[in-house]
């Protein structure tokens, strides 16, 4: 039923050996928030520090050469993983920074009167969706506020699908920024179709791929995106590294967000010129070891196979929807079928607040996330303040789903 040998994979993750609370085995169902790290990733980072740690790009000594090699080869690995070119990969701290980097390109270009594709003004529109994570919502509110552009959004249907209203994409639309997979609903959005509509109107198409790149095969060209953002820590990699991929010709014109060392061409006291991408967008000493760790994570995921990852998660999602659905008073927030759907299962229980439900699960050793999952407007849309979310990854198995269902039943009884 699953293409993965989960028992074998689990051995690669040291943390899964620990117990929580009163000696209960850890059932980690919070990978949508952050994933656990396999030994090979931790080894790669440590190996970097123990053997080739130095400042990159700027040093001429042997160690600096090796550090630069490690860093730039990480960039190539990550580029290949998403079907991009390494010059188009910018390392950020996380997806949030990647999305801010693009959004500041609009604010800063507008302030400075160019370059054109990034200039916005009153009458122009930015189109997002009601299912966005705050990371792909608040930055656009800021852009709208600072440029005078108007923020619009696609709604969400009762079954948790994107309600694509084509009339919202017009020649006033300058930016379309949409999540590839909802971190709450699990819904996978039809990005290629939306990108086509956006491009037909000359808009820039941005994709928040935070929940897709870690969980399924993603090819930036097939997506039809102009920019794609994701985070390392959600895909087996260290914290402290994220990625912005951008279309070469747009990156070439894009102004930097952060300025300082390593991103310059020439510096005088009163003015400076900037380097070509990706350096232009990586001011200061980068998160070198974290990028190296991310490349090791990509190697690990490629060995597992991204299609297998996706199928495995769809399989577990099916079990979870079935198991939770069999309990009284449970309502799934998100699609209850498996079409275009990834492994995030959010739900509410009659008479039990998600914080309390999560507490009972935690007491059973099951780690889930409760709250609005940084998607507050989406929760308002469904008339709930908070949900309980289970999210799956390659190290989860059928027993984990059973523990989730059993723990939820216990909560219903406890508060019943």
């Amino acid at each position: 039923m699953t293409p993965l040998d989960v028992a074998a994979l689990r051995k690669d993750f040291p943390i899964l050996e620990r117990t929580v609370r009163d000696d209960r085995p850890l059932v980690y169902l919070d990978s949508g928030a952050t994933s656990q790290k396999p030994r090979s990733v931790l080894d790669a980072e440590r190996d970097f520090y123990e053997h080739r740690s130095a400042a990159v790009h700027r040093g001429a000594h042997h160690l600096a050469e090796e550090a630069t090699d490690a860093f730039e080869s990480a960039r190539r690995t990550i580029a290949a993983f998403i079907g991009g070119q390494s010059e188009d990969i910018v390392f950020t701290r996380n997806a949030t920074e990647a999305l801010n980097l693009v959004s500041y390109a609009f604010t800063n270009s507008t302030l400075e009167g160019g370059p054109q594709p990034f200039v916005l003004g009153p009458g122009d529109e930015i189109l997002i969706t009601e299912m966005e994570h705050h990371a792909n919502l608040v930055p656009w509110q800021q852009v709208a506020q600072r440029t005078g552009a108007t923020l619009r959004w696609f709604g969400v249907t009762d079954s948790g699908r994107l309600d694509i209203d084509p009339s919202l994409i017009t020649d006033r639309t300058k930016v379309v920024s949409v999540t590839h997979q909802s971190n709450v609903l699990g819904t996978i959005n039809p990005i290629p179709r939306i990108a086509e509509m956006a491009h037909a109107m000359g808009a820039v198409m941005i994709v928040d791929a935070c929940q897709s790149v870690p969980h399924m095969p993603v090819d930036v060209t097939a997506l039809g995106a102009d920019f794609v953002a994701f985070s390392g820590h959600k895909m087996l990699a260290p914290t402290g590294v994220g990625v912005l991929w951008g279309r070469s010709d747009l990156l070439a014109q894009m102004p930097p967000m952060l300025t300082g060392g390593s991103m310059i061409e020439q510096v005088f006291m009163d003015h400076s010129t900037f380097a070509a991408p990706p350096q232009r967008f990586e001011a200061g000493t980068p998160n070198i070891a974290q990028a190296v760790g991310l490349a090791a994570a990509v190697d690990y995921l490629e060995a597992v196979g991204m299609q297998n990852v996706h199928e495995h998660e769809v399989y577990l999602t099916g079990l979870a929807l079935e198991g939770l659905g069999s309990l009284p008073g449970i309502r799934i927030i998100g699609p209850t079928d498996l079409t275009d759907r990834g492994g995030a299962v959010s739900f509410v229980a009659d008479g039990v607040h998600s914080h309390d439900l999560g507490q009972v699960l935690d007491d059973s050793g099951v780690a889930v996330r409760v709250g609005h999952h940084c998607a507050w407007p989406l929760h308002r849309r469904f008339g709930v303040a908070a949900t309980t979310r289970a999210s799956f990854y390659i190290y989860n198995d059928e027993q984990d789903v059973e523990a989730l269902v059993a723990g939820t039943r216990r909560a219903l009884e406890f508060f019943g």
Binding site: R21, D22, H353, S354, H355, D356, Q359, V360, D363, V370, G371, H372, W376, H379, A385, A386, F414, F415
Partner: protein, 148 residues
Amino acid sequence: MNLENLYQEIILDHYRHPRSKGLREPFDAEVHHVNPTCGDEISLRVDVEDGLVKDISYDATGCSISQASASVMYEQLVGKPLDQGWPVLDEFVHMIEGRGKVEPDEDVLGDGIAFAGVAAYPARVKCALLGWMAFKDATLQALGKDFT
């Protein structure tokens, strides 16, 4: 620490039957507090006269801990002079933020002592304090002072 320790009967009782819930008139100040992590909300009004807490009325959505805690607070503070109320509040905050290392004073806390178990769960600290902080904020406003 187990579930029964956290969710004492008193808490479940206040959660199921919150005392005197609902916003009332008259009042001197009204505040709205939110727990940004989970979206729990409370609107709270205080009616203070001559240093006496004449009424606390509130409307809240949230988990058992935040709901019960507001209800217990109502019982512990209404009808008390403020100079008796502040020490209760201080002791409650002290216990909740004490990470389980504080020996709470039942004489001061009354039913508030039922929340002792919360201190072991840092993620629930804000739930237990939501109503109490709203009370503090509203009362200071009623007295013309700043909430800090």
